[in-house]
Symmetry: C2
Subunit: 511 residues, 2 copies
């Protein structure tokens, strides 16, 4: 039975409370989610990690389509002149990008391969860091009249932003994402779209990734370069830092002016289109890990898990082996007829010829929601041994097979709900309403100087709207405004400046 | 009613028999499938074209998973040294590729953006033209023992091969594809996998894309560089040329030796893994177009169509408008409850405020399998007017609404089957068994020298296995061996050399 390695108390070393960043790296390795590649900053997403991404894609894509969007695909490369045109846009983030300068390799005088000097591009190409400019140039051709609007298009693709300090899933040079780009006839419609897509993200993260978020607007200094308004969802992870889990931008007419997206209005005038863009990336896998995983490995919300139930046949004796394997496959077939969250339950039978403990620990580390053990004695008793990943590793419930099958969907939903509740409880416990500068600075200062320590959380504090206050706090504490939350209207006094404040904002350290 | 523009006899100008290549370009534009971008050789895949690709992906992906494969994701960039290592591999095709040399932009002395001289990469990176090398380097880390095998991984991604003469969907600098990469314990297992995946492609193309193919092996000169054996499926399109619609390569130990994929065998020895790779790309959309489309536009096989049935409400009078729209939505809802090919029927109600003729022609050009018109008089009679895209544009069948709903799935399947039958009939009619050099040369020589002319087809002729014969015929006629088909065993005499031949092979001009 599930033995832990004798030397370690937990399957992942170090534990979260010992060294959170190192725990994160070790967990990704132990759960076989991803690994660094030989190309600096670029990751290999392994099948288990990619399976999680496929589920995220499938769920999000269905939500995009249900809100009237279609998918398309735009080029990987952006001419340098487009970047130039979009100067303000570029200023913010796009300088660190991969630049293609040659279109052929040849063999140099030293016998080694090199970019062929005869094949230098007359205009360098940038590997897309985001696609506003190239998509804008295309939309400018498509849009002539108000009849061509709205354009509601999404793209699933890879993007590249050169990272000096890469971290798997959180900051990688290449990552996968979706980027929605829409054009509308009026400001009101575009603002509505911006909010609608933020709501889609909030719903997705809550109902599938089981993470509660604050929703709101970014302050000017954290806004997407070129946007009029950036809306975001902000989650808290287990080291109490914030992570931005999705953004939706109202771009006004800034990008349509730069790209020339112009249309004839209903009353015959020429006007620039009102555009939005919104994105969510493989960073969400990092959020998922840091929100739910524990010291024994990943903990997957059932609605996102590539495998929801793993069945481990235990076959100590050759003479009962066939019967046990047959019973395991039969159970799997029955479970696959059960529907959960709109699809058949995802079941895997682990027939590998490995010890039960090794197998079991592998699935614990991978975070499969339900593990089932089935051995010769269970065949006699008609039972199966069931363990939920959200409960202690050694807790085991013996259930009649038929009972387990009939309860499987409810059990998965109970795990899903439990993970959300735990994450919400954790966030609420670490979110503090703060009214003085002293308490604020104390909240965000670790108490032990000699080792990394989980501290702080979300502070709800007043703010007078001044950029100087933001900058001072960032310089002092590395704390920033994560969002100006919707629906907060209690006016007060900014504890940093003494000036009046229209509402509290969310402050935190962040990824 | 569906009026054609008065000046033209067909919706697409020129017709196929007038100028096939130009018809192809015009069709892609008219059906809104894709368009060239400002980046030379790179295309924008528009929503209708991308919807076709999504359906191809969904169907193929399910087939990959049913045969035990999982998806993963590997980096876009390949270090130049990997290409160097794989010299034979590169020799064949990978010299024309996009090379990244800088990782930052800055502003030059002339005030213009440029690749920052201070950010030149110490080792240039190649944008993947295919991923054998980077995936091989990763597998080398994963594989230690026979217990780690087989590795059965597929990747959906973009790849880049610089094209001097781009053609949308057929030859583009960037394209989308899937590439499977597997490692096996034994040669037999790897050969079996190679054939299994070819069978998957054949089944997919036959059952979904409705195109019959020849399956077989490539001759040495057409083989994938570095492969021991390349299997392929070859389709005929309407200008009677061949198009390679998918390939599956048995790589022997060539790539595992270059990448160092080594494992401990069951009897304790060290051996190199046996690998395969197999791919299908957005080129399949080009195949689909050229196999089925006609002079009025695209003709989509229902199992691949993004919309299978379009309902066009006809609302000439304001007072009946609401009732007609309501009836259209009700019909759509009923049709969506019908299952076809394992999924609900895809229905769209075109509520746009456009003339019936304009609308109808738009859907004809886009190739939607079934068009339904529903107007005020139909409400009274309880009928709908139904037109199948595989039948003449003006043919119209009036059906009681309930009858149409109950027959919809069968009608879609009948269109699917009909498209396959037509394509097969066309191919068979243009496939000729040839036994003399004279007839062969005559078959592949156009009769009118002054304008492009559809001619030739597939020739089944004997071949003595000599590369010189292949090269001579290629030089004379631009005709090559498309495949050495499986299952042909009739021996004979090569008409070109007079030497003995073990079997007939398939010769054709090709894309």
């Amino acid at each position: 039975m599930a033995n832990q390695p004798a030397a370690a108390k937990t399957a992942i070393t170090p534990r979260r409370d010992e060294d959170f960043p190192e725990w994160y790296q070790q967990l990704i390795r132990a759960a076989e989610l991803a690994e660094p590649s030989d190309v600096r900053g670029c990751m290999v997403i392994r099948p288990w990690g990619y399976g999680i991404w496929e589920n995220m894609q499938r769920r999000l894509d269905a939500m995009f389509k249900a809100t009237g969007h279609v998918n398309a695909y735009f080029p990987l490369f952006i001419p340098l002149s487009y970047m130039q045109k979009e100067a303000e846009h570029v200023e913010g983030f796009a300088k660190e990008c991969a630049v293609v300068t040659h279109h052929r390799l040849d063999i140099g005088p030293d016998g080694k391969m090199r970019p062929a000097p005869s094949a230098e591009l007359s205009e360098p190409l940038v590997v897309r860091p985001t696609s506003e400019t190239i998509i804008g140039a295309t939309y400018a051709k498509w849009v002539q009249s108000y009849r061509d609007l709205p354009i509601l298009i999404n793209q699933w693709c890879n993007v590249v932003r050169w990272e000096m300090r890469p971290r798997i899933f959180l900051r990688t040079t290449e990552f996968l994402w979706q980027e929605g780009h829409t054009v509308h006839e009026s400001e009101a419609e575009a603002r509505e779209e911006t909010k609608r897509m933020l709501d889609v993200y909030e719903t997705f993260v809550r109902d599938y990734v089981a993470v509660p978020v604050f929703t709101g607007e970014k302050s000017e200094s954290e806004r997407f370069p070129g946007a009029v308004q950036t809306l975001c969802i902000e989650a808290m992870v287990q080291d109490r830092k914030a992570i931005q889990a999705g953004t939706s931008h109202f771009l006004g007419q800034n990008f349509s002016r730069a790209s020339g997206i112009q249309f004839q209005t209903r009353d015959g005038k020429q006007e620039f289109g009102w555009t939005t863009s919104w994105g969510m990336s493989t960073r969400m896998i990092g959020t998922l890990i840091m929100a739910h995983a524990d010291d024994d490995g990943l903990v997957l919300p059932p609605r996102i898990a590539p495998t929801q139930i793993v069945i481990m046949p235990i076959t100590p004796k050759e003479e009962t082996r066939a019967a046990v394997l047959e019973a395991a496959e039969k159970l799997a077939a029955e479970l696959r007829r059960v529907s959960y969250a709109g699809a058949p339950v995802e079941v895997q039978v682990d027939r590998r010829d490995l010890g039960g403990g090794v197998k079991s620990w592998e699935w614990i580390k991978k975070g499969v929601p339900i593990r089932v053990e089935l051995g010769p004695r269970d065949l006699e008793s008609g039972n199966v041994a069931v363990t939920r990943r959200d409960q202690p590793v050694k807790s085991k419930e013996f259930l009649l097979t038929a009972d387990f099958v009939s309860r499987a969907a409810a059990m998965l939903e109970s795990i899903q709900q439990n993970l959300f509740d735990r994450a919400k409880e954790f966030r609420d416990a670490n979110t503090r309403t703060i009214d003085t500068k002293e308490e604020f600075y104390d909240f965000f200062t670790p108490k032990k100087a000699d080792k990394p320590e989980i501290h702080g959380g979300f502070a709800l504090a007043h703010w007078n709207g001044s950029r100087e206050v933001e900058e001072q706090i960032k310089a002092d504490l590395k704390v920033t405004i994560r969002c100006i939350p919707f629906g907060a209207s209690e006016a007060g006094t900014c504890p940093f400046s003494g000036a009046p404040s229209p509402q509290r904002v969310v402050w935190a350290k962040s990824y």
